[in-house]
Symmetry: C2
Subunit: 449 residues, 2 copies
């Protein structure tokens, strides 16, 4: 059912089953979204260019996206018929009333946002676009992408007029890996919606109120919604840079940053974040560039990016200092990096500090080995690194994620395997005293020693 | 009673009335502290170099420190005899068991911390220092001031040995003007205490547990306590710089920053602060320099200071833009600054944005007038500004604090008085629509327009 020209009263009486939603992008964020809409009785057409993904979903099988509750959800909603998948984006656009785009937007080598994938999708949607349709962007995107890029493309391709024939909204995802389904349903955050006009905003409100049990908050237009998402992430980048600055400063004064942070945060107006080996993932290290390229007030963002990016060099400095205490030059050392995911519990390496550290060490040390319980030997070798299952020959262990398995390491056993007893802990998970008693030299981010 | 060598068990059985505390500095923070200790039955000797202040207190009269509940507290504790005041710092040191320093530490012209006042006080305390005494610094101070400056001075002057004959602690005040008494008693924050040794820390815990009903948190040493206080304030400076950056960036894109901030903050992990005309007061704009001078990791702090300091220039830019719309060059304009306090409700001008803006405008505009309900005509003239009670001749009104009186301004009346109808609102207190209807040109920090 076409919604764009419905009155508010009629809108609220519509049965979800009368609305067909196509969802473009069946990745780690898109598939949970498709599943949740289908669970709430919307007719959902999932669209993806990957035929294997589509075929798997149509068989009711999660195409190996590691996400809690997703496999059973997909099984259920394909069985009831509320979710179908296809590779045909044009046909899906033709047969759906609402089209939601939820594909990641990456950066190119020069940190410019790469909109090519997005534009491919918009072309397909535009080709199938009909009067009364609604198009929603959920992907986090540079400011003005929704109106200036998608809106203009859709008008040109479809020969329809925005805010007359069809509506456009930005409703940014606020999803974390591992809690995606719950996040979509409002675990932590209300949904933010910004339509190209009031009618579209109202439809977006209707839609997301059906699935987000917390709340739906509407903003003036899609650009505001874009900025809400971007600045929320940039906030974290700047505050992590602040925590890293605090740590480096405290270290110079011989003080443990964690003690300062914990005590300062007893003031309810103070919420200092945690220092670490850098910031990885699809969001925090990426979205500052969605603003940096847009305007001139970027000194603080630029500097914060630089501070967080340079933490990998600091980790290597810690390793070098520890090796010096054992009279081993870095160039002669065998290093084992524990953790190449960008954070614990996920099998994703985008902008991961572990990889950054490994790459930098490749040319500085003798050999760099890698282990991460989220990745198999094959995975790690495919990424171009040397896999290691034990600790033999190792001069220095660097922990870069807070994996459960790393917290449970039996250091008495490790002691018998390693060549040199050194641990660099960037995630505050080791017991320094216990390791010192075993003869390990340790260095830790967040502490003076 | 000398506490330094008492056991923990004995300490907990001591009656406050057996302990004499001298408190150095009876200003807006020191006098409430003296009052609260006296209220909890400690014998308190208040010390100040100002004889008028001391005489007034000894008569039971608050020496005009504007602080809620302070006058009645002083009346009460002088009547019971638990608070006495003196100008004789050496004698007060001789007759007290615990000496607390709570005087402000300012910056000199080059933003170097000026410790001269502090050293004067320490000299007096040192001269009267006896075995078993405890000295506590409550003033926020540059890192290492407690141990390296006060500790060394006390040892030299008294010929006593720190951590053998006497103890030293930093227990930073976490007090805001207008809520000082409640803050001391733990309205928001637990007390942070860091002693030069464990014995001293334990005594500080005993002492502050008597008055802070929230909690007392002990840290490893005085330097950690110094850093806790400094970084807590620097956190605010950096996050205000972030909010200002966000605002300036959103403005370029034609978006209201407040809408973005409010929506982003619906994520419980996001707590973006409020943009404004700069940061004033004794704390936030001062304490970054307590770190900046101490070590090299200062880029983020330096930049944040610069961003916040430059907001006054942005306010003048807004005034210029508004005047341009009325075809008035800034150099021909009569400006009225509403607010010279550093924030609403206080009669204090230290580092106030209103004053900074007024001074910058002095050479750029025709005449600058000032009004602030916290200050009389005489006060304002003493500060070197032209006082104005009405709105006649005015071309541009700039609001720099959120005073209640400014929120209640009758703009229909103002309209009949001013020469040109322009309002620059840096504190988000006007109703833009209402003022536009009255014919005012308005510019607001936090909004695109």
């Amino acid at each position: 059912m076409k919604l764009y020209n419905l009155s508010r009263v009629k809108l609220n009486n519509i049965n979800p089953a009368d609305i067909t939603i196509s969802i473009y992008g069946l990745g780690k964020m898109g598939l949970p979204l498709a599943g949740v809409f289908a669970k709430h009785n919307f007719k959902v057409i999932g669209v993806d260019i990957n035929k294997k993904t589509v075929d798997s979903i149509n068989k009711g099988i999660n195409p190996v996206i590691e996400e809690k509750g997703l496999s059973s959800l997909i099984r259920k909603v394909t069985k009831t018929g509320f979710l179908k998948a296809t590779t045909d984006g044009v046909e899906a656009s033709k047969t759906s009333d609402i089209k939601i785009i939820i594909i990641p937007i990456y950066l190119d080598d020069k940190n410019n946002p790469d909109l090519s994938l997005l534009k491919d999708v918009v072309k397909k949607i535009g080709t199938g676009l009909q009067k009364g349709d609604i198009v929603i962007l959920e992907s986090t995107a540079p400011a003005n992408t929704t109106l200036q890029v998608i809106g203009k493309m859709l008008e040109k391709i479809s020969n329809l007029k925005l805010n007359k024939d069809f509506g456009l909204a930005h409703c940014p995802e606020r999803i974390s890996s591992q809690t995606a389904i719950k996040d979509i349903e409002g675990r932590l955050c209300p949904k933010i919606v910004g339509g190209s006009d009031l009618k579209t905003t109202r439809i977006a409100e209707y839609l997301y109120k059906k699935i987000n049990k917390r709340d739906v908050i509407s903003v003036q237009n899609p650009t505001v919604a874009e900025l809400v998402k971007i600045w929320g992430e940039v906030y974290r980048d700047v505050n992590i840079a602040f925590a890293n600055t605090l740590y480096l400063s405290c270290k110079e004064l011989g003080v443990d940053a964690f003690e300062v942070i914990n005590a300062a945060n007893t003031n309810p107006y103070c919420r200092i974040l945690t220092p670490g080996p850098g910031v990885g993932g699809h969001c925090i290290p990426v979205y500052p560039y969605f603003i940096l390229k847009e305007n001139t007030n970027n000194l603080l963002l630029n500097l914060s990016r630089q501070i967080n990016d340079s933490m990998s060099t600091h980790v290597i400095y810690l390793a070098k200092e520890a090796l010096k205490e054992k009279n081993i030059p870095l160039k002669d050392a065998n290093i084992l990096i524990l953790g190449i995911a960008y954070r614990a519990g996920v099998k994703e390496v985008r902008k991961s500090p572990g990889i950054k550290i490994a790459l930098e060490l490749n040319s500085l040390s003798k050999t760099v080995y890698v282990n991460d319980p989220q990745f198999s030997k094959e995975d790690i070798e495919k990424l171009g690194f040397k896999y290691k299952e034990d600790f033999t020959k190792i001069d220095c262990i660097i922990i870069t994620t807070g994996e459960k398995a790393f917290k449970k390491i039996n250091w008495s056993m490790v002691k018998t395997q390693v060549k040199t007893k050194i641990v660099i802990d960037t995630k505050n998970i080791i017991n320094k005293k216990a390791l010192s008693n075993l003869g390990f030299v340790t260095k830790r981010i967040g502490y003076a020693k």
